[in-house]
Symmetry: D2
Subunit: 364 residues, 4 copies
């Protein structure tokens, strides 16, 4: 499996660069018989589209998706689904200034070090536009999960040092920062405004909650549900950390504080708390899955920085153009999409875990 | 690739349960011509062996490794290397008490939920003994890296709330907690002692530093070096979080604080700081790789907890027997081993990234 | 790795159905720095295009390929290359007659049995149009091999019972059956004409020769070069057999007849014959690679056949419309493409087989 | 996935060399709840053991298998199953004569060309002993298939030019050549005897039939059931060809001869013939699976042959020692084992092909 493919049973292969002709994804392993149309995908894609608030790049792209294969008469057929979005708004000219220079915090230097050649236009393959394929694929995964009653919700947990106090799911879509707390959202907006004036940018944390997941998902020992989630989340550009349940805070706790006690109320096993974040031994434990992803501040800032040219000469750089002062709100839907993909994969993989399941399928 | 296999070019497949006949690993994709003997592996294995301090289980196992294949006349042959350690110290009797009960914080419940059957002896497959295979494989990976001048060093960064102030690499092996700071190690030991008296346990954070890594490792977009490290680290039992470079702290920084400026001193590109932790866009950037893994407190505690039996009845449990009050010191070598495996895999994978490299091999 | 992806280091993912909007392929793992433009791919694609002789379907499609990603300023960048061909000549009406019926020798029944739903238009995913993606990917693989002086040539070895006597490589492109023997090509053409009059179809054998392959390619024991070729060839629709070197004839030989003796002429090891077909123990032996693929007759025939409807009623069917009376000539370029892909993958994979190669790359 | 691993959902990893300490296999992805003990595996292994007739090597090895993990209280647990057989009968001395020489028809030259180092003792990794792991894994696969009523039977179809006329399944185990035709078996035995006197060896063809396979197995387009079988069969040492159904003979047939007509007798779709060999479009069609594998003559012969030394000098070689004059009878069980593995993998993979199957598992 090469670097552009992710997933074992439900797998996605993304392709495309920021300023190429198009970006897209192939989703393979989708079970047949799921109702699916362009709109299902478009709705999720619209949540990551730029240009929707003053906190995101003014770059205007309609990002209209086409389903090119794998769907017939409104249903998935079991064959690979190809999804494509054209890159309508090429402004290659914007990037000629940075053609021969490494932008700090970007992948300019490392792509050149690796490949000896670099598509310098807008980050090329390392651009946020690559996530279009992920979100499109995530829309399909979400459709599948929906049919089993599983729902996923991601939101901004913090911007800079401003962290949400309460989580009101209804609030999330009401503010441009996708925070579930109106007051925090307001403060964060003010903070971003002040930082923008300095020509600077900010980071934040995305939290994601998955409801109604059955116990038993995740394959020991390397395809643990949390390990696959961690890989998925760290594969998103600008992410710097992943934690599940108590996460890093668990390191400071005692066993008696971090363990979740069990209760057998009414015959069903229930955990009395959820410090684990829904995973024990890498397998879902029937509680909500709760994890967080840290995103660094947008590296593109207009404040002057020291850097070097591709030929090794010292330079000063001030990055102009259309850039998000904070990447977090647009990363929310990407986190949600990748979570849906990981969970779909784990669900499909899990149906081969017991002989009794296999018999159920073949003894019809 | 099923759940017990990890890695694309340099791959490991671990097998074995806590109380089965043996545990082991198959390492495939090892290049031919590397000097290797049992002792190379044994040395690394001895670092994870239990019973070496008052902070680790009294369970005495010699954990002697045998290389069963893939090495001929002292050198690797390019064929799979099978490594095995017998489980000498079976004490299945210890576990009969927990046969019908779910230990809080353990994978007892989830394994049963997934498979409908559970090897209840000592955690079975979810036991820490599974890491023997990882460490043995890591020893081989380390040998390979050593030949390219790459070195890896992991250590305990914090125990509970006690965090190291300075990092003195020479100190690490001098204290049983593998902390690089003598004072912190002393305080942590006292803290653990006090917690042990309460029948409780503690967590902590392991930090890992990789020196001398060439720029260019990691395959966008899903096999990013940081994504693969995250997967590897979260696949270790009891780990709850992963961060690289500034990690979660980056979420509170501004772009101007988190970006690493470049300098072209003497023609070679150099970063003036290392907030990135050695990775930009998922590709190594030539700086030290620096990442951290959070471990929860050992779930086995003698303090009484609420739980349920496998038939759903409420119970009280107090876990007796030989258990580490803190898992962190023994996890240090596992983190190091998994890091070595991930980096080896990335190194081998990277040699196919440029046509110019391919020509170099075939135009001999 | 799901069913639409093939290859470990050099991997292809094909997508698309006969009567969908388009068909295409993602090629990932292509080393950077290879000169590549649309024309390189178009030339190879033109060799599989229908409508070029009286022996192929009259369906007229221009099959113009677009490279959508992975190439910048005329060179591959190391990122995934997306190639697409629009399905311009939709004639869905043609297929309404077979909507509710299983065509003998086709995959109609099995797709429905597997997925419970079937895109009945022109075979859907099992259509020969799926091979467009393979040929496009093969063009890229061929470019890479060309740079190392490796060349691949496939041709029709037999049609029905007419087998080529001599192999004149210059003749291949001169006749519409791609046979390397003018006389055999003439006889075969007459034979096909006579069979077409009966409303019937014929099969044949494709042979493929690879020159100048270095010894050492292929990864024991399951990724043997011959095993990977066999998988690739049997993955082509209508193929029913694969053999390498003496193939099935070897089963009737004695060891003294089938073994290739070695000679050390001038220091270099040389085989004195090539019964092995270029592979020993699954690893290339420095001789020409020679293998054959058997193709069954085109299943679409106008002669009436017994069959059943999707609801299980007995029916008679006579398949009208545009169909090749023989699939072999158009399969020639597909065999060549898949061979190029397998060999590329083996070449790239092989560079990790020796520590000495790894050192060569990193000790620059 | 590296070269020693095979299979996606049901996967095997073999390890070990002819004269190392042991050989073995890890079987991962085995569903939990299958009854399994050492004897199940031993019975199948005993069928490949050498020294059971005058047509197989006199090398005496008991080949006793141990299950080291993955089974608890007589049932599979869903965790990886490690199986090992010690190499009890080391006679390394036998091989010192061929240490510096390439045996014609063997992999001596190619392993050295690939790895620059070679375990010259008894073929090392390319030895037939590697198949012990495959057969052991095949025994587990067969247990699973048995529970679904699927049975596999392989036998010798031809030795040299002697081909079976009738197929009497009861006869197979009654003769040392595993031929299903007493008369052919007698003639073949005489033929082998005569060839042995000349110091030579013979080849043959193995045929394999799978009964009661459900329609729907195999994943288009690259994991087609026939493609996976072809890969599996060509991965067996000394195999030179694979064909399914009419195979190479189909190339000489007309469509009207090779197509299988359908009949809807009693509502169920039935094929009226089985030219396809049980696969249409790479997916099982509900008929018996029928395929054949060609094996070359044993390359080790006592007749003198020309060869070269590892330093390139011309030499004459006459291979002494214990060698099978024909590899075919011992390959029969290996073919059966690999078929079982491929079919298991396809069965497990198929349960994710429909949303309706997924619902069946999760809507308990």
């Amino acid at each position: 499996m090469t670097g552009s493919t992710f997933g074992r049973c439900f797998s996605i292969t993304t392709w495309g660069e920021s300023h190429g002709k198009a970006v897209g994804v192939i989703v393979d392993g989708v079970p047949s018989g799921i109702m699916l149309d362009d709109l299902d995908v478009q709705k999720m894609l619209d949540r990551r589209r730029p240009g929707t608030s003053r906190f995101s790049t003014a770059r205007q792209e309609s990002d209209t998706v086409s389903i090119l294969s794998g769907v017939f008469e409104g249903r998935t057929t079991g064959t690979p689904i190809s999804l494509m979005v054209n890159n309508s708004d090429h402004r290659s000219a914007d990037y000629s200034a940075i053609k021969d220079i490494f932008r700090p915090g970007h992948a300019d230097y490392t792509y050149l070090a690796k490949y000896g050649i670099r598509d310098y236009r807008g980050g090329g393959r390392s651009s946020g536009r690559e996530t279009i394929g992920r979100v499109a694929a995530g829309a399909i995964a979400s459709k599948l999960l929906e049919q089993l009653g599983i729902s996923i919700c991601a939101y901004t947990r913090s911007i800079g040092n401003i962290t949400v106090s309460d989580v009101d799911f209804d609030e999330i879509s009401k503010n441009p920062l996708y925070m579930p707390d109106e007051k925090a959202a307001r403060e964060a907006a003010e903070y971003i405004d002040s930082v923008m004036k300095e020509g600077d940018s900010v980071g934040g944390v995305v939290e994601c909650v998955v409801n109604n997941l059955p116990a038993g998902l995740g394959d020991p020992v390397f395809s643990r549900l949390d390990a696959n989630l961690a890989a998925a989340m760290l594969s998103i550009g600008a992410s710097k950390g992943f934690e599940i349940g108590d996460g890093f805070a668990a390191a400071s706790l005692k066993g008696s504080e971090d363990n979740d006690e069990f209760s057998g109320n009414g015959g069903t096993v229930k955990k009395l708390s959820n410090h684990s974040g829904g995973v024990l031994g890498g397998i879902s434990d029937g509680s909500d899955l709760v994890f967080r992803v840290a995103f660094k501040p947008t590296p593109s800032i207009s404040r002057e920085q020291n850097t070097v040219s591709t030929s090794g000469e010292d330079r000063r750089i001030s990055i102009k153009g259309r850039h998000d002062p904070v990447i977090v709100p647009r990363a929310v839907v990407v986190v949600e999409a990748m979570a849906a993909i990981v969970i779909c994969d784990a669900l499909l993989s899990n149906v081969t875990s017991r002989m009794e399941y296999i018999r159920q399928i073949y003894e019809r």
